[in-house]
């Protein structure tokens, strides 16, 4: 009976053109559009200022290493170097600072006076990077890149070797394009919408139309109905995400820098979490209309405040509270980390625990409040 139930739900789903469209085709169209927009061609063309106040040897080396980002090493595809269109300018601190304020520069690297001196005398010294937070895509990656350059230089010092051999292009984030950034977001969006539209709404419909009641009139155990329902959604979720990744890979050669197993693990966790959230919505919504309202109420804010389309690091503090409360934030963050080594917002442990927490709490509450009949 489990097999029959599972198959029946598949047929019901596969014969529903709208459902197919939203779960499979819609994300693909999304990818294609963004792929074409951001695909091979799009590059960072931001302007960056460098303030070199250090009189010693290390400062200039750092500065030229950063400026060297625009150069593509021999044998590599220049199209893949996203920094090759960037413009660098040097100047004094107050000039460049005001340019950054006006938005003429998007980032500023300040190499302070006495940097080399203090390092050679064994004192730690730091390079300051100021980025314009309104360049949401550029900012975190530029920070990451400068950070890695500084680390390279630093390693060079401890080994007391010349630092001219730096390979800036080997920094992973320099390979990241818009589409690579977007795929984790699209995955997260699809998973959330699976929970909301493909889990909550059909379940509410089954209750209000009396389908659940009819099943309850048979010897079919209730748990089996629910398990087959979840199994079916889990299959759709995995299928949907795998298709998105596969198409992204085949059409746009998107990055998957982490391990596939880890990626599948994170996908599984977030799919289960959103199915549980969907069940909770189905448990508390009495009618299909209120179900619709609740799903939209969850869908929109999460879509825009969880880092699906743009990074959340630049949002004001009071919004950060909201961002932190949204489970989708943790999905997006975990997927970005595993797929493109994005600068983490949370540690993997936090991403795991928070999502597992949502999964457990939502499951418990769903069981507590679930109703089998409309009235």
């Amino acid at each position: 009976m489990f097999v029959q139930l599972y198959l029946s739900q598949w047929r019901e789903f596969a014969r529903d053109r709208m459902a197919l469209f939203f779960t499979i085709l819609f994300p693909l169209i999304f990818i294609s559009i963004f792929g074409l927009l951001y695909g091979g061609g799009s590059k960072f063309d931001e302007k960056v200022g460098i303030v070199l106040e250090d009189q010693g040897p290390i400062g200039p080396q750092l500065a030229s290493a950063i400026e060297g980002l625009t150069q593509t090493p021999e044998g590599q595809d220049a199209d893949k170097n996203v920094f090759s269109d960037m413009k660098f300018s040097r100047g004094n601190a107050s000039d460049l600072e005001s340019q950054l304020q006006k938005g003429d520069l998007q980032a500023l690297v300040i190499i302070p006076a006495g940097l080399s001196e203090s390092i050679t005398s064994g004192q730690p010294a730091s390079v300051t990077v100021k980025v314009d937070q309104s360049s949401q895509v550029f900012a975190p990656f530029f920070q990451g890149v400068v950070d890695s350059i500084v680390q390279k230089v630093d390693q060079g010092i401890t080994q007391s070797k010349p630092m001219l051999t730096m390979q800036v292009q080997s920094v992973l984030s320099s390979q990241i394009r818009g589409i690579d950034l977007l795929i984790p977001g699209i995955l997260a969006m699809s998973i959330m919408q699976l929970g909301l539209f493909a889990t909550a709404q059909p379940m509410i419909a089954m209750r209000t139309q009396g389908v659940l009641k009819r099943f309850n009139a048979t010897p079919l155990p209730r748990w089996m109905l629910l398990v087959s329902y979840v199994a079916m959604r889990l299959t759709i979720g995995l299928l949907q995400t795998i298709i998105i990744i596969a198409v992204g890979k085949l059409m746009f050669d998107v990055a998957i820098l982490g391990s596939i197993v880890a990626l599948l693990g994170w996908l599984l966790l977030s799919i289960l979490m959103f199915i549980a959230i969907g069940f909770f919505v189905a448990a508390i919504a009495k009618t299909e209309e209120s179900g619709n309202a609740i799903t939209q109420l969850i869908n929109f804010p999460m879509l825009f405040l969880s880092g699906v389309f743009f990074p959340v690091t630049g949002l004001p503090d009071w919004l950060q509270v909201v961002v932190k409360a949204f489970p989708l934030t943790y999905t997006v963050d975990s997927l970005k980390q595993v797929m493109i080594n994005a600068p983490p917002i949370n540690t993997p442990m936090i991403n795991f625990v928070v999502q597992l927490g949502w999964l457990v709490v939502m499951t418990v509450l769903s069981i507590r409040f679930f109703k089998w009949e409309a009235r």
């Binding site: 009976m1 097999v3 029959q4 139930l5 029946s8 739900q9 047929r11 019901e12 014969r15 529903d16 139309q209 009396g210 389908v211 009641k213 009819r214 309850n216 009139a217 048979t218 010897p219 079919l220």
Partner: protein, 304 residues
């Protein structure tokens, strides 16, 4: 042996006693009907017997099992057609019957039950594309898949056109021939009279009459009904004085005269009409029906 035993059943919804102390027995092989207007408590009673709703009082035994203690053993042996059955929209007739077949230990062949309800031509039609009557028959097919001892049909013909209704009556008659116990609800007195061995007439959650349809009619009436509508409304008091007249009832502009002497009453009525220079519209002479029983007992018609 009794198939269903219900004693002093009560269901309360807020201030409403939806089922208010109902008791009856249904014998094996019997077609038992509950006849009553909308809101009388038919579905509530039926679903309590099926184990789908919890009563607030009373006891229910189905095939000797106490339903309130444990419905599970009974579920294998009863077939249920709910008042409104909604199933997966995009599955075909055969797929749906097959799905429900998978829930039961013993089942009839899928094509056999589809044949029992005459849906052979629609086996590959999605349930959303079936007509009302076909969907209702599909619901009955699903109720029959486990070859149940008792079949519950909650208003199986409501909303169907006359042809579809007759088709459903054939299905029920065939079930009776196969020795099945059928429990059905209806608000069509004609359906109750034609299909049921015994009928419980219900109103406001109470049984107001119980017995064989013909016996119920005879117990309440040895009169014949004369029915007509009349714009001037010949006064009831005047009609009551006509020879042979037992009772006069006036409802929704339709006057019903119950008479023990049809010839005498008719003649006198016609003379009265002549004399008053009025007209009767839709004048009929008919035997009393369950509708008349309901009218007599409640002062209202079953359908309004």
């Amino acid at each position: 042996m009794t198939a269903i035993q219900v004693e002093n059943l009560v269901k309360i919804y807020g201030p409403l006693r939806a089922v208010d102390g109902i008791s009856f027995d249904v014998a094996k092989g019997e077609v038992f009907g509950m006849l009553g207007p909308n809101g009388a408590g038919k579905s509530t009673t039926t679903e309590m017997i099926e184990g789908l709703r919890k009563p607030d009082g009373g006891s229910i035994h189905v095939l000797g099992h106490d339903v309130l203690k444990n419905v599970e053993p009974i579920k294998q042996r009863i077939g249920i057609q709910l008042q409104t059955t909604s199933l997966f929209q995009k599955l075909t007739t055969r797929e749906l019957v097959k799905l429900f077949a998978s829930f039961y230990k013993n089942t009839l062949p899928v094509d056999e039950v589809i044949g029992l309800v005459n849906l052979e031509e629609k086996v590959n039609t999605a349930s959303k594309d079936l007509s009302g009557g076909q969907r209702q028959r599909l619901a009955v097919a699903i109720a029959l898949i486990n070859d149940p001892d008792i079949i519950f049909l909650d208003e199986p013909t409501t909303g169907l056109d006359p042809q579809a209704r007759r088709s459903m009556w054939d299905v029920v008659s065939n079930l009776q021939k196969r020795g099945k116990t059928v429990f059905l609800t209806t608000h069509y007195m004609e359906e109750a009279e034609r299909l049921c061995d015994r009928v419980a007439v219900v109103d406001h959650g109470k049984i107001i009459a119980l017995g064989k349809p013909q016996a119920l009619i005879h117990d309440n009436f040895d009169e014949t009904a004369l029915e007509f509508s009349n714009d001037e409304q010949l006064p009831e008091s005047l009609l009551a004085t006509l020879p042979g007249v037992e009772r006069v009832q006036n409802e929704n502009g339709i006057t019903t005269i119950y008479s023990k002497g049809v010839a005498r009453t008719t003649n006198a009525l016609m003379a009265l009409v002549e004399q008053q220079q009025t007209e009767l519209r839709g004048f009929t002479i008919r035997a009393a029906t369950l509708e008349d029983v309901f009218l007599k007992l409640t002062g209202r018609r079953i359908r309004d």
